[in-house]
């Protein structure tokens, strides 16, 4: 362990990094957990005008605590609107939503996601929930982000099932499939690094590595050949002020960031 790693844990780091990517004055559809924490942190730091939406219909709540479900009453607590799922999905389809956060059991180098099954779909070894709203949000929001623990079984060369579109098979594929132009994966934030996507190849590439992380560690945790952006920098660690807000205001009961 380096000295930095003692002052915050991996989840705290990922949440702080994710929060900084959310532009002020933008809209984001989040789920529960780390994405919601990142949005709440952003609202209290760099993006006070961030508008948070939940796929079940909640819009702009003053979140009193972490929602347990993306449809629970926290998601519209003192909200700006309590609407419907079509309302949220149609705002995305209309182009009004800038960001979304997704997860999955597998991700490939084009940012495609699997949350449907492990093994053959016809006879799955593990049946998972399926798309939920993930396919919709990744199809329709402008920029898709991921916060995910990274290991070679999760960052794979080939998905068992492509639930949710990243860049599909590469350049031009989203447009050819009929997905709205200009959309796609944006950042993938893991416990080791932040990945972006190469503007030409649309393949996942390391943009910065967290303090103490080496290229070997990243490669060892990636089941495909990761790209490297021209200038791989070190991730800026959480500021004390960010950590304080995260721990005291966003997740005081440490549901997400844990006890470590």
């Amino acid at each position: 362990m380096t000295s930095e790693s003692r002052s915050y844990n991996a989840m705290e780091l990922m949440i702080c990094l994710a929060a900084r990517y959310l532009e002020d004055g933008s809209t984001v559809v989040v789920g529960t957990g780390a994405p919601c924490a990142a949005a709440m942190l952003a609202q209290r730091t760099t993006a006070p005008n961030l508008m948070v939406l939940f796929e079940a219909g909640g819009m702009g709540p003053l979140l009193p605590s972490m929602p347990i479900s993306v449809g629970d009453s926290r998601t519209f607590f003192k909200g700006l609107a309590a609407a419907t799922m079509p309302e949220i999905m149609e705002a995305c389809q209309r182009g009004m939503v800038d960001y979304t956060f997704l997860g999955g059991a597998q991700v490939d180098m084009y940012g495609n996601l699997n949350s449907t099954c492990i093994g053959d779909w016809e006879k799955p070894r593990v049946r998972m929930p399926g798309s939920g709203g993930a396919n919709d949000l990744a199809s329709l929001c402008w920029r898709t982000m991921m916060i995910a623990p990274q290991d070679p079984r999760r960052f794979v060369a080939k998905l068992d099932f492509m639930t949710t579109p990243g860049y599909l098979t590469g350049p031009g594929a989203r447009e050819a499939a009929g997905l709205p132009p200009g959309t796609g994966p944006y950042k993938v934030i893991t416990q080791l690094a932040v990945f972006g996507f190469h503007p030409g190849t649309l393949r996942m590439q390391v943009e910065n590595m967290h303090p103490g992380v080496t290229r070997e560690m990243v490669m060892g945790a990636t089941g495909f050949e990761p790209g490297w952006s021209q200038e791989v920098t070190q991730s800026r660690p959480p500021e004390p002020s960010e950590l304080e807000i995260l721990r005291k205001e966003v997740d005081p009961l440490r549901y997400i960031i844990g006890r470590s």
């Binding site: 009193p64 347990i68 479900s69 799922m85 999905m89 798309s131 939920g132 919709d136 594929a173 050819a176």
Partner: protein, 330 residues
């Protein structure tokens, strides 16, 4: 791009047949108050295709779902539109053998239901894949009375390939679109805050897809936190989100969405949901759990008693009304 999807279209979008059915549906404002047992006995049949209102653990018609299990309904079709605890209950009763999947077998951040997973993994359920928005728009197409709606989701993915969607080209712009077939369920089970005896319903907070589900389904059973006078409905007509002529039966079930969250009423009982997930780790223990909580529990009040009764429900009311502080009480 692999479309049409290769899976089975469980409910074909036959709008003309639906029109004939809706033509025959009563428009009389007659009293429809009954019990959960009676409503399910009369209106949910083996083999029916079922849609469930709310959102998994939020404003779900738990009392009606328990009744479906208790009465031993089999071979149902299920619309898996964020089906979490609802899916878990129906899986506990082994009630369904086909499913339009957008989200099943999970309880969001709480984890996966082992028992529900097992049923899918053992191949006992025929599956067609969709997304949440796709199912929402399939309900809406039915509610609109059109055989499909175009959308820009699922395109290019295995979700589409394993769906029963088709692809079309926009006649104006030439862009590719997915065509989502209207979904007319046989029965919808919906939990609401208030209804009158005729079935005019009010819901507080988010509506998820319930407006469309109530209009799309051939038969609708509503459970309500409370029955209110028809005059109350007429006092604020803009609050009527489901009109009586969509509704076939009304059941008064206070706390009817427990152990889920019903907004402005009570928060979800996370302890009980955890107990479900825990019990599912051992099939024998789970059979006993289901026997004790559903099969041998005569009705919903008895279930609520077993789960801690009014004392626990009062705690959940506090959690709902004083969030943040409320969590500290649990």
């Amino acid at each position: 791009m692999g479309l049409p999807g290769s899976s089975r279209l469980f409910m074909p979008p036959d709008v003309n047949a639906a029109r004939e059915f809706f033509r025959s549906k009563s428009r009389r404002m007659t009293g429809k108050l009954t019990t959960a047992r009676e409503a399910v006995a009369r209106m949910v049949h083996d083999g029916d295709y079922l849609a469930v209102g709310g959102f998994g653990t939020n404003r779900i018609p738990t009392a009606l779902l328990h009744e479906v299990v208790r009465q031993g309904r089999k071979r149902l079709g299920l619309s898996g539109h964020t089906a979490t605890h609802d899916c878990q209950i129906l899986a506990a009763g082994d009630c369904f053998d086909r499913c339009d999947v957008a989200y099943v077998v999970g309880l969001e951040a709480r984890g996966l239901s082992r028992n529900a997973r097992r049923i899918f993994e053992e191949g006992r359920v025929a599956v067609t894949e969709w997304s949440n928005a796709a199912l929402a728009w399939r309900y809406r197409a039915a509610a609109m009375g059109v055989p499909f709606l175009p959308a820009r989701v699922m395109l290019g993915t295995d979700t589409a390939r394993r769906s029963a969607a088709r692809e079309i080209t926009c006649p104006f712009t030439g862009i590719r679109l997915v065509a989502l077939p209207a979904l007319f369920p046989d029965v919808a089970l919906i939990h609401v805050h208030r209804a009158d005896v005729y079935g005019n319903c009010q819901i507080d907070g988010i509506l998820v897809s319930d407006l469309d589900v109530a209009r799309a389904a051939r038969r609708v059973i509503v459970s309500a936190e409370r029955i209110i006078a028809g005059d109350e409905i007429r006092r604020e007509p803009a609050r009527t989100v489901i009109p009586y002529f969509c509704v076939d039966a009304v059941v008064e079930v206070p706390y009817g969405g427990y152990p889920g969250n019903t907004a402005y009423e009570y928060f979800s009982d996370e302890d009980h949901l955890r107990a479900w997930l825990k019990a599912e780790e051992d099939p024998a223990a789970f059979a006993e759990f289901v026997r004790s909580y559903i099969f041998e529990t005569p009705d919903f009040p008895a279930y609520l008693e077993r789960c801690g009764g009014l004392r626990r429900l009062q705690e959940l009311r506090w959690m709902e009304h004083f969030p943040g502080r409320g969590e500290g009480l649990a």
